[in-house]
């Protein structure tokens, strides 16, 4: 598939402005027990052509943030204060100020969201083609043949046999196939930004690899702008240019993928990395983070991570740190990021190639 055929409209001519800018975004839910502060003070630029991973555990606010961008949160949710600017072809809008119909048109045409549960992403009583045509029709397409042609191309792009898929009901396809169909469908209207929420969770390993390869192709060949939301560090490592770690509704660290994985400066990021083993790497000493994620209704004072943090001091209990520059293009919200740096110097992360070589040499000994 060539670039021309899929016709991505990369907006390089944006005079340096990011296609998506989140400014001071807050999301809260009103519940009987109190206000759930799901996302707090998120400021973030998504640059053209980059892929950004939002990682964090359940309750960290990453999915809420994703849904806030396309405004698909439940009615009890409040998105304020804050602004989410979207820019395409020199046009700039604040997503949070769009009216109902503008919002509807914005969705999928400008920003498509691929959901975790692809198993249930399709209406079970309509064939795939009918759902694709629904999508196109809702955005003002009238030429059935053209839509069909484009869908066939996209299905081929995601390595599915269009003849088998196009007139199938969702239940006739496997989980991996459905995820790929959804991916194809997300490209139908030529959106500028793609949000992928746990795109590989619940899929088998080999199917996961197929999806990862496809997403890499989108990223590397088509220069797509993407946000990955995942609790799985591996997805970030496999696909992201930049990684943002979220904890208790805030971004606590943001930086290039290599920086986050090899030079983390926030204790939470470090904790996550030390908790996850690799397969082809060597044998790593793993540690878990003590305690459990905070109650979003009754957040701790100061730094929200301090009750679980080994570096915490009295200051952390009182003052909440803001993101500060810890390296080029690398920010972290921690009063003690230098201590994390020291800690890493003392106990380096046993990852990457070195440990692999060790493992391989072990193997060669065993063979000989």
């Amino acid at each position: 598939m060539t670039k021309g055929k899929l016709d991505w409209q990369m907006d390089e001519q944006q005079n340096g402005k990011a296609p998506l800018s989140l400014q001071n975004v807050h999301v809260s839910y009103a519940t009987r027990r109190g206000k759930v502060q799901a996302v707090r003070n998120v400021t973030l630029d998504l640059h053209a052509g980059e892929s950004l991973a939002l990682i964090g555990e359940s309750g960290s606010g990453k999915t809420t943030l994703g849904l806030a961008i396309v405004r698909l949160l439940p009615e009890t949710a409040q998105i304020e204060p804050g602004a989410i600017f979207y820019r395409r072809n020199g046009r700039e809008v604040d997503i949070l100020k769009l009216d109902r119909n503008e919002m509807r048109e914005f969705r999928w045409r400008d920003c498509a969201m691929v959901f975790q549960a692809a198993l249930n992403a399709f209406n079970p009583v309509l064939k795939i083609w009918a759902q694709a045509w629904d999508t196109a029709k809702a955005h003002g397409w009238h030429d059935k043949e053209a839509v069909r042609q484009r869908l066939v191309e996209l299905l081929e792009f995601v390595q599915l046999d269009p003849r088998r898929v196009i007139d199938a009901y969702p239940h006739e396809l496997s989980g991996g196939m459905r995820q790929r169909v959804l991916l194809a469908l997300s490209l139908l209207l030529n959106p500028q930004v793609l949000i992928l929420d746990e795109p590989t969770t619940a899929l088998d390993i080999i199917t996961q690899r197929t999806i990862i390869k496809l997403l890499r192709k989108l990223k590397e060949e088509q220069g797509f702008t993407m946000i990955f939301i995942s609790h799985d560090l591996a997805i970030a490592a496999e696909l992201a240019d930049r990684v943002a770690t979220m904890y208790a509704g805030r971004i606590v660290e943001l930086g290039a993928s290599e920086d986050i994985f090899y030079r983390p400066r926030h204790p939470y990021t470090l904790g996550l990395i030390r908790a996850v083993p690799t397969v082809t790497g060597g044998f790593e000493q793993l540690f878990s983070i003590p305690g459990s994620p905070p109650d979003l209704i009754d957040l701790p004072t100061g730094c929200k991570f301090h009750p679980r943090c080994t570096f915490a001091t009295d200051r952390c209990k009182v003052e909440e740190p803001e993101l500060e520059e810890v390296g080029p293009g690398h920010t972290a919200a921690c009063w003690h990021w230098q201590k994390v740096e020291e800690e890493l110097r003392r106990n380096p992360l046993h990852r990457g190639v070195l440990s692999v070589l060790e493992a391989v040499s072990f193997n060669e000994e065993a063979v000989s």
Binding site: F115, N123, L173, S174, L185
Partner: protein, 359 residues
């Protein structure tokens, strides 16, 4: 992992001998299996009825014979012969022969002769009165189901709004009043207290002088007479449909595919109808099978209340007069119509939900 998490089925069947495969395909066919099950049920029910009539102590035949001897001074032999003729049973034959004859008679549509109006076959009575029940109950059921689904959908969309609360109260109230009591209330209030409806003229199935034909006047008259039964069916059943549909819709609104449809920027109307409404209504079709039995069974009292001359009216008359052949025949027909309606609902469901494998 249990069998439920197996990989999806790939197309491609088994290769056996062509004719054996054809036989198997027919046997496995959803429609064939379903029809076979319905026929089996009809057989079981008619068998139960036969043995009730023949074997129960103080069974209707014995009672009828006793009555003939008592009231008309017949001798036992004559009375027995008359009873046999009425029930279309040869009382001298062995039981298995009687049973076989009974089944053969059923197949021929011979259900015996009425006791209270001698000379009239039960089949002809059914043929005369059944269409009116099907007409009124059918319209009632369709109206109630349609209105219930639409209102339920609306309630789910405006959850906790004024409309939702008002309709919930309405649904709870009307569905807790037994239908025949609601019928009496309609007569008391609309007919007697407020005099809005000419109750006396509305009795029966048609006004005097009107004959069945394909004319507007006939249809109008038929509807005029069926009006109160239909209103009663609708009022007493619509509440359940509304509440079921509301629950089902709320469940469907939480489904991922609805969120994805919104993310795809579909228009609200399309999401409401094709994505939410259609899927939310699906489980209600299974409830329909139970509801049909209830409405057909319940028609019985409503027809009695409104003096609507359908099959239920005939049944209550037969029960009051202990006209056993008619009771037996009408009961069989009511059961069969329920079985048939269930069959229809099942086919409809298979057609509406592609996940149900058919054929």
């Amino acid at each position: 992992m249990s069998t439920s998490t197996l990989a999806p089925q790939s197309p491609g069947g088994v290769r056996t001998g062509a004719s054996a495969a054809r036989v198997r395909r027919i046997v496995d066919n959803f429609y064939v299996r379903r029809v076979a099950k319905a026929l089996f049920t009809v057989w079981v029910v008619s068998t139960i009825i036969f043995f009730l009539i023949r074997l129960l102590p103080g069974n209707p035949i014995e009672q009828y014979i006793a009555r003939l001897i008592e009231t008309q001074g017949m001798d036992y032999e004559n009375a027995r012969m008359q009873a046999a003729a009425l029930f279309a049973i040869d009382l001298d034959a062995p039981l298995w022969k009687q049973y076989l004859d009974y089944l053969l008679n059923l197949l021929r549509g011979n259900l015996g002769v009425s006791i209270t109006s001698p000379g009239t076959t039960v089949t002809s009575i059914i043929a005369r009165f059944l269409p009116w029940t099907i007409f009124s109950v059918g319209i009632g059921l369709i109206l109630s189901f349609t209105i219930g689904i639409l209102l339920g959908l609306m309630m789910a969309y405006r959850r906790d709004g004024l409309l939702d609360h008002a309709l919930t109260v309405f649904a709870s109230v009307v569905s807790s009043v037994p239908n025949y009591l609601l019928g009496i209330l309609l007569v008391v209030w609309l007919g007697v207290q407020w005099k809005v409806l000419p109750i006396a003229q509305m009795r029966g199935t048609l006004s005097p002088g009107v004959t069945p034909s394909f004319t507007f006047a006939f249809l109008y008259d038929a509807l005029f007479h069926a009006f109160l039964p239909i209103v009663t069916y609708v009022l007493t059943t619509v509440g359940n449909w509304m509440l079921s549909m509301k629950g089902s819709t709320i469940g469907t609104l939480g489904e991922d595919f609805v969120t994805v449809a919104r993310a795809r920027g579909l228009k609200d109307w399309r999401i409401t109808t094709a994505y939410v409404g259609r899927n939310a209504a699906l489980p209600l079709f299974t409830q329909l099978t139970i509801a049909i039995g209830f409405v057909v069974g319940g028609s019985f009292l409503i027809e009695t209340i409104f003096q609507y001359q359908g099959i239920g009216f005939v049944l209550s008359g037969a029960i009051a007069a202990r006209d056993y052949p008619v009771m037996q025949g009408v009961f069989l027909i009511i059961t069969m119509s329920v079985i048939f309606a269930n069959l229809l609902a099942d086919f409809l469901y298979g057609w509406l939900d592609p996940r149900i494998k058919i054929g």
